[in-house]
Symmetry: C2
Subunit: 252 residues, 2 copies
DNA sequence: CCGATCAATTTTGTATGAGAAATAACGAGC
DNA sequence: GCTCGTTATTTCTCATACAAAATTGATCGG
């Protein structure tokens, strides 16, 4: 692909950053999206530093730092004389929060979506089960509070979605496993953002409160089996919603 | 902590890179290890660019690029005027291959080790079960070949360990899920390197061939239940070995 | 005394030019 | 045909200068 396409699309991204931080990362973002979306194929050589930075109208340093970010995420690898090339897909850090977000900002293939939720169906119920065993009173209180806020504001509002995030965050913390926390929160955030972004506030899903309530009750009661089951349902519902959002966005 | 400690330890790392690639990343490595090992606490401010680069005896650009790598992995965040500070732990990308490796090069706490294998016990058996359903003949052939090589060379040799890697790689590919592949291979590689590095070729584990054979037979037969069970045993054995290696290294 | 607005200072961010290291490709010599 | 040095290209490093951002403090008005 031509580097000009990138320049052309500069600044058109909705930038679902949440908090504005590291504006400069937009270059890495654009390049990253171009890569994960397949506009650069694995093995393909990128232009040299001078040429690329000229096309993008940025300095060489800025371009290099963007490449550093991408190489830290396993998307590219560069060596002297050879140049910088897009890494093979299996080297990509697919679970990196940014990479995930980049993937889901475009139109992820059905199989990718299926794969991601395959992972979620395995991990998240187990996290809920662990949370049921290990939760402290504080976690239960936070989940309860978040649930109340969800009921009050609904998911159509920013406050409601924040409460949803809080609910899951508290649950994950209760699991006490930092790896599960990183994994699940990253995946959840990327997907949640997708649904919100693709279907703007569309009340497509059925009332999510009862399902959350089931999870809450099970975890609060310390019933790991019930927690697992309830969370499985929740993930399945999320899968349904996400698929719906993506299909609506791709075929308007 | 003082930045001088870093300079002092420069070049002492065994650099388990495998292929030499991006030597320059050693700065990021040192800093990353310093962070995940707790020598910098979350929230702590790093020195300014000029001062830090002087201490490390590198240029400002080199130091900045190292910071970029770390920020891409969620370890630090920098803003103008405020400076660069170590991010809160929950922001770290714990499943990033490099971060994992950095964590396990030091002495990870028992609870961390427990947490990681908690994740593995959930994910890897499921990956094996999926592989049993989806494996193609090619995957079986590769696993078979790798198994033969393992039997011939044993895990005490480099060739044998390579065969072990190949075995698991083929199995993961058979699962057909890129997220499972990234997750498992990253985790596996970091831990495998730890055991090899900590206990140099020590024949601590019982013969791993039969356990691998069980997995192979189940996957080849397309029996997902048996695959799940066999892989569970394999993970448990790996947990035992890793714990042993780490304890041996910490209390010589 | 309190508040707000505006300027100053500090820190990261960007730009640019010059050169060093690394490595793949080429060619000379045997 | 094979080995070994040479060359060319590309990333990597360095040094310096300037721009942008954001916190701090000071100044002014109420």
């Amino acid at each position: 692909m031509s580097m000009d396409d990138l320049t052309a699309s500069k600044g058109f991204h909705p930038a679902p950053d949440g908090k504005r931080l590291r504006i400069h990362g937009s270059v890495a973002r654009d390049l990253g999206i171009a890569i994960v979306s397949g506009r650069y194929s694995p093995g393909e050589l990128l232009l040299g530093e001078i040429e690329a930075s000229e096309r993008l109208k940025i300095s060489r340093t800025a371009y290099r730092e963007a490449l550093r970010i991408l190489s830290a995420k396993g998307l590219v690898e560069s060596r002297p004389k050879t140049g910088t090339k897009v890494s093979a897909r299996f080297k990509w850090h697919m679970l990196d929060p940014d990479v995930l977000q980049w993937i889901f900002e475009l139109e992820p293939s059905d199989s990718l979506l299926e794969s991601l939720f395959e992972l979620r169906r395995v991990v998240e119920p187990e996290a809920a089960a662990l949370a049921a065993k290990r939760r402290a009173d504080d976690h239960v209180a936070r989940m309860d509070k978040a649930l109340e806020a969800m009921k009050e504001h609904t998911l159509a509002t920013e406050a409601g979605r924040q409460a949803d995030q809080d609910f899951h965050a508290a649950l994950l913390e209760a699991s006490g496993n930092p790896f599960l926390i990183t994994l699940t929160s990253g995946v959840g955030a990327a997907v949640a953002w997708t649904t919100v972004f693709k279907q703007r506030h569309a009340p497509l899903r059925r009332d999510p409160i009862p399902d959350h309530r089931r999870v809450f009750d099970a975890v609060a009661a310390g019933d790991s089996e019930a927690s697992r089951a309830a969370m499985t349902d929740l993930v399945n519902m999320a899968f349904h919603d996400t698929r719906g959002a993506l299909m609506a966005a791709s075929a308007p």
